[in-house]
Amino acid sequence: MSVSATYDVVVIGGGHNGLTAAATLAKKGKSVCVIEKAEAFGGMAREVAHLLYNLHPKVARELGLGALNEGKPLSTISLAEDGNHVEISGDTVRFADGAAHPDAAAYAEMIRRLKKFAGVLGQLSTKTPPKLDGGLTSLATLGELAGLAKMGLDLKRLGKKDMNEFLRVILTNAYDLVLDEMPDGPLAGALCADAVRGNFVGPRSPGTVFNLMYRLGQGGDVRLPKGGMIAVARAFEDAARKAGVDLRAGQGVTRVLIENDTVNGVELEDGTVINTRAVLSSAAPKATMEMAGIEHFDVEAARRMRHMRCKGSVAKLTLTLKDAPSIKGLSWDQMKSRFLIAPSAAAVERSFNPVKYNELPTAPVIEAVIPTLSDVEVASDGRHILSANIQHVPHTPEGGWDDAKRRHVINTVVAQLETHMPGLAALVESPDLLTPADIEARTGAPGGHWHHAEMGVDQILTVRPVNGMAHYRFAIGGLYLCGAAAHPGGDVTGLPGRNSALQLLKDGVLS
């Protein structure tokens, strides 16, 4: 074993959260090194995401990523079987042909309310979740409770009516919330699709309104950054580099070294040892535990991590097309939108049925975008890319993945798209399917889950990632979690990384 270097902090994993954590610490004058197993930085933001939403303005400001949040957000078009597609831009809704939508007012009102609630809830996302054991003698706890009290006050400030509504809807399900306000159809379907996206749920599952609010946390705008998500990954990487972080790619951490219940280094695949006083891991909790050695964790903690719900159920299909497809009734400009195939709330619920039994999807909810229409840089020789997230694909179907099953999924999705984009199948050159199992293999995300851990109400705030570990502190002195499994959770917000870094500084491990 050779000791190659010494840092204040080593960050495991160079996804956007790891990079954010590293940059945050480096800006405070700490020496930081990020170790990334893959050859390139960016993690899931690079490999899986195809649109940017929810990047937190604080993170964007602190890291100088403001440019990513600029430009016109994409509008969403929910494709209808009868051709009356629904176009959603911000809180306005109309039919794609410009005609007024009968539920536009109801939609606007619902979004207004949910955004307001999301704003209140959003305060909690930039802080360490409050500890609820009310050790009123501890100053740290008092500080955390103050955050909660502030939220309580803001809730009261909403007024009795809105506060009551907040307390009701926060735990309710998207299906009922939406259908209480409008008839079922592509608009209701779109809302339900956004409420289940990335999670192992259907819109009837209680708690899905929380997901919708989380999505609306930063306004709900969806962006297609110039240069695609690779550019986003690069921007995070550049921010870290600029802050003075050492970035090492191509070799992962095999072990976190511990002495006296405190971390003192990490060991890489080739046996190199890097000494450090703190390790922030953006890997999943269970993987991090295994790197540190299970014997350092209490049995109950290990059990909770084993049982963490993280069944990934989104596959990504990238189609290289000979030519740009078109949808009847949509303008060239509208073709740059984000498309949803979610014809009704009931259809979104039906989409969820097969995956519960590890079965292949029959009519999955699809989110698709053709980035090459907006961004000439990524198009080459007239070809186009259609990128689709397929909601409700099992991590591993009965008997495992094989070519026939992959083809089945691809054909199902292409056929679904084909009903709206006639002639699409003939344009497809090379379909590239990333199943949740593939995503897990590539990024290490447990279960291939977008958020490393299901964003269910039983796995958020003080019980995220698991009960007793919500403070980023990960059992052993100097070991912290900084990935999506930590509060506040998934999406390219950068917040878990930032919050974790701040908690480390607050705990005085480095002083």
Binding site: I294, E295, F297, D298, V299, A302, R303, R306, G468
Partner: protein
């Protein structure tokens, strides 16, 4: 219809020794111990008690839970499980240990039999299979529940060595307390017990235990061998200062109410909590408790008067309720009114004087309340050099 399931038996079932005990039981006083029929008293409590302190006694310990922990990581798993350092236990030795949940509260106590570094047996009161599986998850270690395949008897009393010799088991002669040895193929003996006296526990296959009983019984005539029940045993274990799960502390996994758990520090086992060995379950919580101070103290007490104080409340200055007796008995050997008692801290440790026990007595239909003083005691009530002598004395 392919299966024809056999219905499982309902209620307590016999151990392989039940027939023998049933034949000599005059009281027909049985209890349910882990699903098995176990004697409370076979004949007379006091004669059974005196036999333990004066002769030889046999008690059926087959219902004990026994778990085999083996494999390359067996030691790691055990060291993660219990608070003491199992690495320091040598092969062929037995060690008493406690284990805790993540909050440092005792799940159970028991004995660890170390055959080799990769092969152990854990003996305890509570059922522990799932917990052991959880503890071994991620490690190369197999957990096998041997509760129903290994049976055992506890042979206790000052003449037990002589008895064993007569039974052809003189090979135990050089065994020190807590030694473990396979004295004959398939017959393991440990010099252990729950009495604080000379004694051995003998372990063998479930189906062979009756023959072993007969062999000991045949050799027992000259040594005053008696079969005993749990009541006599309870008296001597209090004399020896041993704690009993579910009596002197509530195993935390069986507590339906919150905050009923107690830590090994609170139970008085600081010496068996080896913080320096690295992480074990509950270590961080116990460190915190050591820093914050304990909430309870379990201590031995000597009580005035003659009336056993089991279950009595304890007061400071006869006014403030500060604890209760968890096990209490009149010791016929020591002629003392002894007990284990749990105090709310700092009583029982920092504050030891002006403590009073409130005892209710019913004498032939008349209830009477007595307030009697108590003294906190450090050492076991009953201690005798013969229990540790190696080789043991003949009687």
């Amino acid at each position: 219809m392919s299966k024809t399931p056999t219905a499982v038996p309902v209620g307590a079932i016999p151990t392989p020794l039940y027939e023998r005990m049933e034949a000599i039981s005059t009281t027909k006083s049985w209890a349910n111990w882990a699903g098995y029929i176990s004697p409370l008293v076979l004949d007379t409590v006091e004669f059974e008690y005196f036999a333990i302190r004066n002769q030889s006694t046999l008690f059926d310990i087959s219902p004990m839970h026994k778990y085999r922990i083996s494999g390359p990581d067996a030691l790691k798993v055990l060291n993660r499980l219990v608070t003491r350092d199992v690495a320091k236990l040598r092969d062929g030795r037995v060690g008493y240990a406690l284990w805790c949940d993540e909050e440092g509260m005792v799940i159970d106590d028991g004995t660890i039999f170390r055959y080799t570094e990769t092969d152990f047996l854990l003996c305890c009161q509570e059922t522990m299979y799932s917990w052991l599986l959880d503890s071994a998850w991620g490690f190369e270690a197999d957990i096998i529940d041997e509760s129903h395949t290994i049976a055992g008897v506890s042979l206790q009393g000052p003449t037990t060595f002589s008895l064993l010799k007569e039974a052809g088991l003189g090979a135990v002669e050089d065994m020190k307390p807590f030694d473990l040895r396979e004295v004959e193929p398939g017959l393991w003996v440990s010099r252990t017990g729950f009495t604080g006296d000379l004694g051995y526990e003998l372990w063998t296959a479930w189906d062979d235990i009756a023959a072993l009983w007969d062999r000991l019984w045949a050799a027992g005539g000259n040594w005053g061998l008696r079969a005993i029940g749990a009541e006599a045993l309870n008296m001597v274990r209090i004399e020896a200062g041993f704690i009993a799960a579910g009596v002197d502390f509530q195993p935390v996994h069986t507590a339906m109410r919150l905050h009923r758990g107690r830590s090994p520090l609170e139970l008085g086992f600081e010496k068996l909590v080896h913080f320096e060995k690295g992480h074990f379950n509950g270590r961080r919580a116990l460190l915190q408790q050591r820093e914050d101070g304990m909430k309870h103290h379990l201590v031995k007490i000597d009580i005035g008067g003659f009336k056993p104080a089991d279950g009595s409340l304890i007061y400071h200055r006869k006014k403030k309720e500060v604890g209760h007796v968890t096990s209490g008995v009149w010791s016929p050997t020591m002629k003392q009114n002894i007990a284990l008692a749990e105090f709310k801290a700092p009583y029982g440790k920092a504050i030891q004087d002006d403590l009073w026990v409130e005892i209710y007595v019913n004498e032939e239909g008349q209830w009477d309340k007595r307030i009697v003083p108590l003294t906190v005691v450090d050492k076991p009530f009953f201690q005798n050099a013969r229990s540790r002598a190696t080789p043991p004395k003949s009687f």
